[in-house]
């Protein structure tokens, strides 16, 4: 590569109570694909927000093309040639593709010209996109194309991508990588943020690893093993969950031709889903975000009631029943969003434990809460699942993501479920907490519980599920044995590449 594009020198940013970045320095070369690695909370987001002008560093400086670079706001960063594809939160559902793109541009052309340019660029890079469609109706992969094209229309010198593949099928990832390599060959540098090591090894030339806000090493990912990089990230050795093979028992949960409209605007309706889950097995359900995962969890947990005969628990029809009756029978669920769905952020852990535990743990007396018992139950979750908190009287939102996730999953596991449905149990959780949660799910299955694991993390699904099925547009593929399934096959089950094609510049 020909020289340094962006140099970071001693960047430091502290928030009350935490130092997000401490003395971080590294260089990004012109046309280089540079990986930024680190666990959640390692300071990756703060660092890229600094480069993009959303955060002002306390100390340190940046040099772009050798000149000082201090963007006061994203507009200034964009004007200097820095573009960013966000992980989420940066599209507007109720606006069209063209309007969304115009919002990210300094000086957008007239709508008709813009639409033409969107079509041109999207064809050039193999990312087909219709400019006048509502973004709310697009798939996750298509939404990402909107963001990428928004950036490409500005001819960026540096493209920052924050966890770009978390919402893509393997085929879509492949095409994305083609596009990125092409951009790199044309001289655009890419700062690629991820914690998926294999991807980084396939794509990037240099990797900078952050841990607790510090730069703990730079390596060439093509020559470093995934394990070495993981241990740099975690700062210790990694525990890999172990599974004991167990015989699948009798059928506990049977779903028959489950169809239901989505309760949300821009949601996905469930279409004719049939499934059997047996005692002692982990059934993995994969799929790209927004293909019916939330709706399926709501239908199983009882948040969304469905027609009679669609969901049978040990032969008993529970479709029209609400969550409490299902819980009493032993059908428990832990939803994806921990703040606000699985847990009430501003309530204490005791209160949160009581919220789902009343039915099975008998936490009420004469219709009133037995707080002593609730506290004990919360305390046992904390001890058994190693939740790091001073005590159960602390609020749920005071816990880090990984700790709260351990709490909400542990809370269900300790209620001795017959069937446990979890959605994204390790989303945004650091590697060691994720390993602990996966191990707990495997132990639960070994003790005879049927576990339904809904996840978008293919590695996780492959690691712990016995059978695998894929959600795509609200329909579920027939489950297959997870052993011996290749990534290619899974990709096809997830619906392939949604009419993407390889770049042809």
């Amino acid at each position: 590569m020909t020289g340094t594009l962006l140099a970071l020198e001693g960047l430091t940013k502290a928030y009350p109570g935490v130092v997000a970045n401490e003395d971080v320095s590294f260089d990004i070369g012109r046309g280089e694909i540079h990986a930024l690695l680190g666990e959640n909370g390692a300071g990756k987001s703060t660092l890229v927000k600094t480069i993009y002008g959303l955060v002002k560093p306390d100390r340190g400086r940046m040099l772009l093309n050798g000149k000082p670079f201090e963007p006061a706001e994203p507009r200034a960063a964009r004007a200097a040639g820095v573009a960013m594809v966000f992980q989420h939160f940066s599209l507007f559902d109720a606006l069209t593709v063209a309007e969304n793109i115009a919002l990210g541009m300094e000086d957008p052309p007239k709508t008709r010209d813009l639409a033409r340019r969107i079509r041109e660029v999207s064809e050039t890079y193999g990312l087909p996109l219709e400019p006048f469609r509502m973004v709310g109706d697009l798939s996750a992969g298509e939404r990402q194309r909107v963001e990428i094209i928004r950036c490409l229309l500005q001819d960026p010198k540096l493209l920052i991508m924050d966890e770009p593949t978390s919402v893509l099928t393997p085929q879509e990832v492949k095409i994305l990588f083609e596009t990125l390599r092409k951009l790199s060959a044309e001289g655009t540098a890419i700062l690629y943020i991820s914690h998926k090591l294999e991807e980084i090894r396939a794509l990037c030339e240099t990797a900078t690893i952050l841990r607790l806000g510090r730069n703990v090493g730079t390596c060439d990912p093509r020559e470093t093993s995934a394990r070495e990089m993981a241990e740099l990230m975690v700062g210790g050795t990694l525990h890999v969950p172990e599974r004991e093979t167990s015989e699948a028992g009798e059928i506990l949960l049977r779903i028959e031709a489950l169809s239901a409209p989505s309760p949300r605007a821009f949601g996905t309706a469930l279409k004719d889903i049939s499934l059997e889950v047996r005692r002692g097995e982990v059934l993995g359900i994969g799929g790209v975000a927004g293909n019916g995962q939330d709706e399926l969890l709501a239908a199983l947990s009882g948040e969304m009631r469905v027609k009679p005969g669609m969901i049978l628990f040990e032969g008993k029809d529970v479709g029209p029943e609400g969550p409490n009756l299902r819980r009493a029978l032993g059908l428990l669920a832990a939803p994806e969003e921990r703040n606000g769905h699985a847990a009430a952020p501003e309530m204490s852990l005791t209160e949160n434990a009581a919220l789902t535990g009343t039915v099975r743990e008998g936490l009420t007396r004469h219709g009133f809460f037995d707080w002593g018992k609730s506290r004990k139950f919360a305390q046992s979750v904390i001890e058994r699942f190693d939740v790091r908190t001073p005590g159960p009287e602390n609020t749920a939102m005071s816990l880090s993501g990984g700790n709260l996730q351990k709490f909400v999953i542990g809370r269900e596991i300790l209620q001795r479920p017959e069937v446990l449905v979890v959605n994204q149990p390790t989303w945004g959780v650091d590697a060691s907490a994720a390993a602990a949660i996966r191990q707990a799910l495997l132990d639960l299955a070994a003790n005879g519980t049927a576990v339904v694991l809904i996840s978008q993390d293919l590695d996780e699904l492959m690691e712990i599920s016995d059978r695998f099925a894929a959600l795509n547009g609200g329909t579920l593929s027939p489950p297959r044995s997870a052993r011996g399934l290749t990534v290619e096959e899974i990709g096809l089950m997830l619906g392939g590449a949604h009419d993407m094609e390889a770049a042809h510049v």
């Binding site: 940066s90 507007f92 559902d93 606006l95 919002l103 605007a265």
Partner: protein, 304 residues
Amino acid sequence: MDLSTINPALLVASLMVAATPILLAAIGELVVERSGVLNLGVEGMMITGAVCGFIAAVWTQNPWVGFVGAALGGAVLALLFALLTQVLLSNQVATGLALTLFGLGLSALLGQGYIGIRAPTLPRVDLGPLTDLPVVGRILFGQDPMVYLSLLIVAGVWAFLKFSRAGLVLRAVGENHGAAHALGYNVRIVRTCAIAFGGACAGLGGGYLSLVRVPQWTEGMTAGAGWIALAIVVFASWKPWRLLLGAYLFGGVTVLQLNLQAGGLAVPVEYLSMSPYLVTILVLVVMSAGRAPGSLGRTFHASS
């Protein structure tokens, strides 16, 4: 009863007058809500506009200065709401309700000594032969200037939201304030501008009541018009042309039922009085298919 006393042309002409205060207040609130802010203080801003406009017009003996005063009065009260909700991050619902109560009290205080006075009012335009045309002349060419201005504001808001860059930014802020912030737009400033515009429109609506429709000052004279305006915004699915339809429908049924009462229709007065509310809500519910702005009513804080 005698329905022949009801002249259709006059009915349409007077429904436009009856609907204009609500239309003005509602189009302002529409812009506010499209930017993601729920300001329940419309009633308070309207009545403050009514009294400020009245005072300004009495002092200068010029109705136009009165309308400027009405817009300013509403906007100043709205900026108080903006300060509380956008800078001090107070709850929008509670602040809006407080604004209504505050506006009612403030206007009663300011209006002491103005009760029973007449203010200079706006003459209807007279385009000679055009205005003298049968039926349409009175409706299209014989209104007072504020009626035309209110229609221009509706058209302007529609064009602004649909075609202009600033309108796109405003919609984006209302749809997803986190994303708009991430793209570098100043959520707080956009919303403050929208709130001030909403206040000015509500003030104009109030001024129209005290300077043209009634035209004099009485305490509590808005009598719930601000709440109707709020409801019409929602039932019109946040779309300007539907809002125009809703406001005129409401005005129309109001005038019609008054005429029917005068004509002695054999239906209890209470049913006639509730008819504008029922008809407007019914029609707009049947038509409504819209979706509220994504960030409506949510407090924005840049750190989240």
